[in-house]
Amino acid sequence: MGKALLGLAGAAVALAVGAGGAVAQDKLKVGFVYVGPISDHGYSYQHDQGRLQLEKELGDKVTTTYVENVPEGADAERVIDQLAAQGHKLIFTTSFGFMNPTLKVAQRYPDVKFEHATGYKRSANLATYSARFYEGRTIVGEIVGKMTKSNVIGYVASFPIPEVVSGINAMTLAMRKVNPKAEVRVVWVNSWYDPPKEAEAAKALLDQGADVIVQHTDSPAPIQAAEERGLWAVGQSSDMTRFGPKAHLTAIVDDWGGYYVDRTKKVLAGGWKSEDTWGGIKDGMLHLAPYNPAIPADVVAMADKTKADIVSGARHPFAGPIKDQSGKEVIPAGKHATDEQILKMDYFVEGVVGKLPK
């Protein structure tokens, strides 16, 4: 992939030189729309880190603009439209709820390229991209399965959508492989970002005997709750070590920079196509934050092996046999869940306590 990128960069440079002075003056304007503040130190922060990487690598050819704290809804359409009207030729909208507004604006500006994160609607000038977050959850599952003493893992979850459900399942499957006695308790806070509520949920789970808190919400509040009790936690979206230096086992870190650079180069070179990208650890779209030194060496070795196996394809996070909560086999032995099955996952696997809200 690195060589391909170099080739593209070369093409882009050739194009820029070929087109002469006009291109050198008119840099490509790239816009970003974030759902949260870039200071959330989680999801939106990581997207902005990607934007900064783009500026660093292609700063001589592009200028970037970002709009943060954009609510999902009517406002989003206005913001995206404004970016397009201001002459941005490539616009990344980074939250699921921006899907329909992005599609509408894309229809109005056929010569502008749009990229929407975590959605599924595409058109000639609207591509989609997301990361296989569940791959990270598999590695996390093995670590927490080994670290727990109470055999109760608390999971602070946002919304019961397939992305979150598949994360819970991937972690539970890997955890049960190394520790069949452990169980996962899930609390839904129905928000992506509500620090007090996330803290309350984490405390409720700790009160119920959980000694590791895993979260699929964006604030570091659950890490702080675990740190206060002297127990463990796993961060979300970015490295949250400083909110709980002792508690922070690792974190699933989103890494969008490579993708943003790659796609921008394609626009510069004129080879951009609308497509769907669903990248994993192999593609560099996510990685794990440095492991807590308190994790024993054999557990680290196991996590590293699992990571290597996922990258090589030797291990699939949803390899059968998989049974749902009622004991019914959903994925038979010898098979693994297809991408479509993962994207539509609407059941909990064995080992998760509690019903999935429908």
Partner: protein, 310 residues
């Protein structure tokens, strides 16, 4: 020890902490409304307190200074509201809403560089023997100082309103500002002081969230708790004791729904989150049926602009 007691102990302890910010904000607003002023800016004043309290505590390392600064920040926001509505006779509802919107934006701007900075938690009290009591121990004897201060404010506010001369004057101003004015009381000044008190209490409520509950600053971190406090005052029919009950109920439901989920009971979380508001509507319906009762408790001049000449 039964399964239920294991469930109940942590819920009780968490309920008291969840109720504390509601209690501070609602008691402050209760005094404001008793003086005849409706300040809908509680949320904005809480956010101002949360961000200023956090900044001061993070810079000085002292949470006590943080709380004092938060009270001052809330007080300044209250003073702004007072100048506009009592001095310039602006509409109270519109000004209060504006104060909330202003507080949301201002706190986000001021706190920009402070997001994601961790600070030390306020330590909890430990009373050997008592804190270790089963079920009620952690709830009653293992909290931080602000929880006890909040509880102490309930009888204090009640005593002030119903057993002191100043409280009587404040209530008189809220019931009939024209008559109070005719008797020579300075209506605007008394109301201004009440608004300042409400602001300071809201500021402390906000700082409780940013210094203690979740020791961090995040934009809009009050997440609607100011509005719950406003609903709580009506729910309590303007009585301090009932504010405490309401705060426990509202806080308890929030906490209980999370605990219930963790235990795997199939209760829709959204239904439980809705319950406090449903209860407020029911109380409103109940007290509205009996006109005499609501007249007894609701300040008659609530939200009315006072002008000495007419």
């Amino acid at each position: 020890m039964s399964e239920f007691a294991v469930f109940l102990g942590p819920v009780l302890a968490a309920m008291l902490t969840a109720a504390t910010p509601l209690l501070f904000a609602a008691l402050g607003e209760l005094v404001v409304e008793k003086s005849g002023v409706l300040n809908l800016g509680v949320e904005g004043m809480m956010l101002a307190g949360a961000v200023i309290g956090f900044m001061v505590a993070a810079s000085t390392g002292s949470s006590t200074l943080g709380f004092i600064a938060a009270a001052v920040a809330g007080l300044v926001m209250g003073a702004l509201f007072g100048v506009l509505t009592l001095g310039l006779l602006a509409n109270q509802v519109a000004t209060g809403l504006a104060l909330t919107l202003f507080g949301v934006g201002l706190s986000a701007l001021v706190g920009q560089g402070w997001v994601g900075r961790p600070i030390a938690d306020v330590p909890e009290l430990r009373i050997p023997g008592l804190t270790d009591l089963p079920v009620i121990g952690p709830a009653l004897f293992g909290q931080d100082a602000l929880v006890y201060l909040g509880l102490a404010m309930v009888p204090a506010v009640h005593w002030f309103l119903f057993s002191t001369r100043a409280g009587l004057v404040l209530r008189a101003v809220g019931e009939n500002h024209a008559a109070a004015h005719a008797l020579g009381y300075k209506v605007a000044r008394i109301r201004f002081l009440a608004v300042l008190f409400g602001g300071a209490m809201s500021g402390i409520a906000g700082a409780y969230l940013s210094l203690d509950y979740t020791p961090m600053w995040a934009e809009n971190m009050t997440a609607g708790r100011g509005w719950i406090a406003l609903a709580l005052v009506v729910f309590a029919t303007w009585k301090p004791g009932r504010v405490l009950l309401g705060a426990w109920l509202f806080g308890g439901v929030t906490i209980a729904q999370l605990h219930v989920q963790g235990h795997g009971f199939a209760v829709p979380a959204q239904l439980l989150s809705m319950l406090p508001y449903l209860a407020t509507i029911l109380v409103l319906v109940a007290i509205s049926r009996d006109v005499a009762r609501i007249r007894l408790n609701a300040p008659a001049c609530l939200g009315k602009v006072f002008h000495p000449d007419g």
